[in-house]
Subunit: 295 residues, 2 copies
């Protein structure tokens, strides 16, 4: 028999991901922070909306969470009316939020005392890929839990990798975001230097994207940086949070990561300029200010 799925968090990403579970025919109960949202969503998707995370856990075999940060994950899993209070031994929690390895390991330890299993399964891919069920999902945890979660994960993602032990899905996710941030910082600096040198920026993009200096950041963020258009796809504050989580772990392991440290400083400066809620393409503002040159 197919396992019953509970889904906690129906934000921009979560609502799309849960919709793919519903389309695949999973029996689904849902909960959302925003009052009334779960009921509206459930009506549209033939799911059951419930009032508390605990109730979702009582009606599920596997509970998936997709929320904003570690604090929210802690609250819905371990807080008042949280999943841990459902007294459902054998329940599997699959957290797909980005919360860093330490928070994942802490949550897993607390849940284990209630007989509840936990794996971390953060995702990469923006909204369109959540919608198209082509997310990349990186899983940390025990093999048997990974296998148990797999049928549900396969309805949401195209690349699903068991990358290591508990917390290592989170670790890989924050390393990937730290690389994105480092590459974005280098790109912003290169763009400002090209412009200050009098190079035509259309030519810069055309030539650089065909060479060894190209990156996902170059194709994703150059237009936003040039147009100073910071419509949020990924907020500066959120990327900064991930880079910090990565650097905490780097310190723990004694591995220096100066490229990410530089990105953290630039993201920090960008938040201080008032762009916390803007897309992180806004880090071009910090580079422009340092250079005294506007592209």
């Amino acid at each position: 028999m197919r396992e019953r799925i509970g889904f906690l968090g129906l934000g921009m990403m979560g609502s799309r991901m849960a919709a793919n579970l519903a389309s695949a025919g999973f029996e689904l109960s849902v909960w959302s922070y925003t009052p009334g949202k779960a009921q509206r969503w459930a009506d549209e998707h033939e799911a059951v909306a419930l009032e508390r995370p605990r109730e979702v856990a009582e009606h599920s075999d596997v509970v998936i969470s997709m929320v904003v940060d570690a604090e929210q994950v802690r609250s819905i899993l371990l807080g008042e009316d949280g999943v841990a209070y459902a007294a459902r031994e054998g329940l599997l929690c699959v957290d797909m939020s980005t919360i860093g390895p330490a928070a994942a390991i802490d949550a897993a330890a607390a849940l284990r005392q209630k007989g509840i299993s936990f794996i971390d399964a953060p995702v990469t891919g923006s909204l369109p890929r959540a919608q198209a069920a082509t997310l990349t999902i990186m899983v940390g945890g025990q093999q048997q839990d990974f296998e148990r979660a797999l049928p549900a994960l396969q309805t949401m993602g195209a690349v699903i990798e068991h990358v290591g032990e508990l917390g290592q899905g989170q670790m890989l996710k924050v390393i990937g975001n730290a690389l994105a941030a480092a590459n974005a910082a280098a790109l912003a600096e290169g763009l400002v230097l090209a412009s200050a040198s009098g190079i035509d920026l259309d030519a810069f993009v055309k030539v650089t994207s065909a060479g060894s200096g190209t990156s996902a950041q170059l194709s994703m963020k150059t237009a936003a940086m040039r147009g100073h258009d910071y419509t949020p796809l990924f907020r500066t504050a959120h990327l900064l949070k991930d880079v910090r989580l990565c650097l905490e772990q780097a310190r723990t392991h004694g591995v220096p990561f100066p490229a990410a440290e530089h990105a953290r400083e630039l993201l920090n400066a960008t938040v201080e300029r008032g762009h916390a809620q803007a897309d992180y393409a806004a880090l071009i503002e910090s580079v422009e200010a340092l250079a005294g040159w506007h592209i």
Copy 2:
């Protein structure tokens, strides 16, 4: 009537590029540093081998140079038996080496006094792309000179962009290489951190290459870094030279480029570890030494 082309420098890249000019039917005279090499090459490609750069200039309307560094360019254009002594007013020099903007501007000024025009036209793309005539060529200089060189450049490249004034082809080239170096530094650090965290590196590559942290460096250099295989495709010393040229210009323009400064330090450390002539994938060695962890 089609212009006669002279080609100076028949190294790994130059010999492939000149071959494409020969195949396209250009009347071609060639010269190479290595004695005898030009004659052998000319016999194979129905070209004329000459003894000195000056003689090549006397037999040409357009002289293309593809050598190792600014010193070689200065020597073949302005040194004893150099192009400048051909007294060929109306000659156009197209330098495709990577020498930095300052050297290009200096060479152009010296040649102008002899009535010789100059454009800088460095390339990106490795050996296979030189062979396939699919190089990316970025040109700095006057529009009329660019147009005059275009028929020859089109036999060697797929993307040919007039990016700005004299020296700006060079500038764009060294910015692109600085971005490559910065992305490579971040990648090496991320790889070591992933490995030290116990993440499976195959999973790292699969997941990261599908996400926003991916780059040309990730696809080009990860295998070499993991395998500690530094068979030279692009030498550490050469990349370091380009990053230094870029940072000199950044200083001139008052634009900070800390991402490239960090790459310079790491490349420097890699040269000091004895890897000057190795591929720059060797910078993983410096990161491993700093972390005290081998991947």
